[in-house]
Symmetry: C2
Subunit: 147 residues, 2 copies
């Protein structure tokens, strides 16, 4: 039996996050000690690791919840899980296409700039004002995920 802090250490998930997951329904309410402390088991360790790994694969907590629900559904076939994975792959590929298009536009702008002119004549800045031509999809702007 593990305390919340121990579970946190075992899984690399912040202790407060564990409480948050419980609230969200991602973790079942654990048993409690006489003093009211949460008492976790190895099952909880596995479940938390599942959550972490699915997150790394680009699933949102909401989607992970669905995956977990699916898993707990007796009659379900693994085709549903497969479907969700395929949908996620499609999403990721669309995202990659967006980013590639943005990068290419940026590359073209950089190519037009020798970096030596005074900033007032910077072709990159000018392109930004003029627009026309290149159409990065405004709906998915977020090349910024690293910043």
């Amino acid at each position: 039996m593990l305390t919340r802090g121990e579970l946190a250490q075992r899984t690399g998930v912040h202790a407060e996050t564990i409480r948050y997951y419980e609230q969200r329904g991602l973790l079942p309410p654990p048993r409690r000690t006489a003093a009211g402390y949460r008492a976790y088991s190895e099952t909880d360790v596995a479940r938390l690791r599942f959550i972490k790994r699915a997150q790394e694969l680009g699933f949102s907590l909401r989607e992970i919840e669905e995956l977990l629900t699916l898993e707990a559904t007796p009659g379900a076939s693994s085709g549903l899980v497969r479907q969700r994975a395929l949908a996620k792959i499609a999403e990721i590929e669309a995202r990659i296409r967006d980013l590639t298009r943005i990068r290419d536009t940026l590359r073209r702008l950089v190519a037009a700039c020798d970096g030596k002119a005074p900033v007032e004549h910077c072709p990159i800045l000018h392109a930004l004002y003029d627009d026309h031509g290149t159409h990065a999809d405004a709906k998915h702007r977020d090349g910024n995920a690293h910043a």
Copy 2:
């Protein structure tokens, strides 16, 4: 001279967003009519379009602010703008690499699954529990941008 609503229509930026940009310092405080209404000019139209376009290219509002500041700096050379564009390209490429890795992992999982087994034997779910091997970078998990 344009009202806030007119500027919004001209640029496709929500009227409230214009006020927000002013607060953030992305748009200079405009002149006011006798009644206190904001009065915008073509310069503001251009500036807002700059902001939109830079956003589409993956720049955050904070970065756009820097770009705009740079532009207003008399002695600056366009090399600085070029540098920022190059840095952004690098960011985007790193993001693409992350997403590609995630997609490949997902593809491998899907390939291992015929979708017919009961969900308890789903190899995708099992892989999620077991971890090991594939290492999608946890720091940039967000294949979810489309959801």
